[in-house]
Symmetry: C2
Subunit: 271 residues, 2 copies
DNA sequence: TTGCTCCTCACGTCACGTGAGGTGGC
DNA sequence: TTGCTCCTCACGTCACGTGAGGTGGC
């Protein structure tokens, strides 16, 4: 007969764990002294303890361990459980590996470039959105070329939507395309209508995207710096840009754009 | 101004999380309606939320996130935290990878060999032990050759230890070496004395080992099967035997060895 | 008498998820 | 009136670790 301490030493587990397994009915002592409450185990119960530990080490919960040990699962179910565990482990290893590379990217910024890393870049999947939009052409990507072109489009678009009786859902969106004439500027607002020839605006479905996003606070003339931070982050973390970037105007009231808040969304793919 | 629901949608987090971050002081609403208790956030607080999410995604606790965001850690400390996280992640990936290969070994046994895997093999590190021992030579590893040689050694060793006034600590141990004459059988018992020429037994320090262990229940004539299960497990899980295997007699009272309990310990290395 | 082992509660962990029960504006 | 959003508790999660407070044999 082993005391609880003996069994704990042989099984390399804590006494507390053995009491816990007793409470759960996973491993009950062969004999309990009725007067003192002391637990006594037979030597062969180490075998059961080993089974508990081995199954637990695969990552099963104690409840699952109990079901396997008490033959409540047949071979097919066990196989299913193992496959599920395999998938879960593979996924966790993958996400930990991605996490590790983000940690390393930050360390790299600190150690070799002496920069305190920008830490408000976040990966998010943006869903597809239907928008109404107007477009115009600007000479270059410089804010001083873009702003005068895009700013007037929004009040204009608003007025046209109002006349058509269309409700606006969420914040305004801007996105840009390059062509031979310069930069095609899209001023867009989320709507919930069908495209129609009667409308004096376009209705476009913007695709769902995996994006890296950052929030820019302040005037449009400095938004280029924030775009550059985002680009550096994407590069340092081993992603690549893919598709058309968007700006979301989360707060843009008043003439003074120094209080504006804009979310920048850059679509990305893994290398 | 955003309601809590607006911010949750933009930040892709749950409303509950925002309330939790508020409670922890991580991200407090810019304004709370005194009569209704409704939280209101400014658009730029999305930036802070993003920082929280980005740091949390690196695997920091919310407390650490708070310290980093509130500038309670300087660059050096941040660097230390990142290095620690890197080490933790690397370790977790390594142990999950090992876990995954154990799961796959079991699946392999079920799927291609149709066996229900033996599930009481456990890896453990056994510490170094000092033992007193007697040796003898047996003709082969077969139980019928070993048992008659080793069994008498234990009472003999016990008697000698008693005469020398030496206390016995834990269960008896057997281990085996092959040489030109056959198998050298070591019958050993843990003791806590120095080696001395006055003793009529050897005092030996058995080394610490990483081992795979299994518990054998029943008579010695069938212990070979259990050794074979252990060997199969070691093979299937990508380990290699290394060093001298041991048997620990956890329960060996009475003449009837069908009630005996023995732990088999095979020292292993990663491939 | 001191140390050691054993016992039974019962709180704490970590970041929320999930009701329960209720309010306020369209 | 129904739906939707918001609110505040407060329990549950998972496998124990860690006291607190006490007992029994060397």
């Amino acid at each position: 007969m082993f005391t609880i301490g003996d069994l704990a030493r042989h099984g390399r587990v804590s006494v507390r764990m053995l009491r816990h397994y007793d409470a759960l009915g996973l491993l009950q002592p062969a004999h309990v002294d009725p007067s003192t409450g002391h637990r006594h185990y037979e030597a062969h119960q180490l075998s059961r303890l080993n089974r508990v530990i081995a199954l637990k080490d695969l990552g099963f919960t104690l409840q699952q361990v109990g079901e396997v040990l008490d033959d409540k699962v047949d071979v097919e179910e066990l196989r299913g459980m193992l496959r599920l565990r395999r998938a879960e482990l593979a996924e966790r290893i993958a996400s930990d590996t991605a996490r590790l590379s983000r940690v390393e990217a930050r360390l790299h910024m600190i150690e070799s470039e002496g920069l305190v890393p920008t830490d408000d870049v976040v990966l998010k999947s943006v869903p597809a959105v239907r928008v109404a939009e107007l477009t115009a052409t600007a000479a270059s990507f410089e804010p001083q070329d873009i702003s005068p072109v895009i700013q007037p489009l929004y009040p204009d678009l608003c007025a046209r939507l109002k006349r058509a009786g269309v409700q606006i859902a969420d914040p305004s969106i801007a996105y840009y395309e390059q062509n031979a004439d310069g930069i095609v500027v899209h001023a867009a607002m989320p709507v919930n209508v069908e495209s129609s020839p009667e409308h004096d605006f376009e209705v476009v479905d913007l695709p769902a995207q995996d994006t890296a996003t950052i929030v820019h606070r302040g005037c449009m003339s400095e938004i280029g710096n924030t775009w550059q931070s985002l680009a550096r982050w994407i590069d340092a973390n081993g992603y690549r840009s893919a598709g058309l970037a968007r700006e979301l105007y989360l707060y843009c009231e008043g003439q003074d754009d120094s209080t504006w808040v804009t979310e920048l969304q850059e679509p990305i793919t893994t290398v």
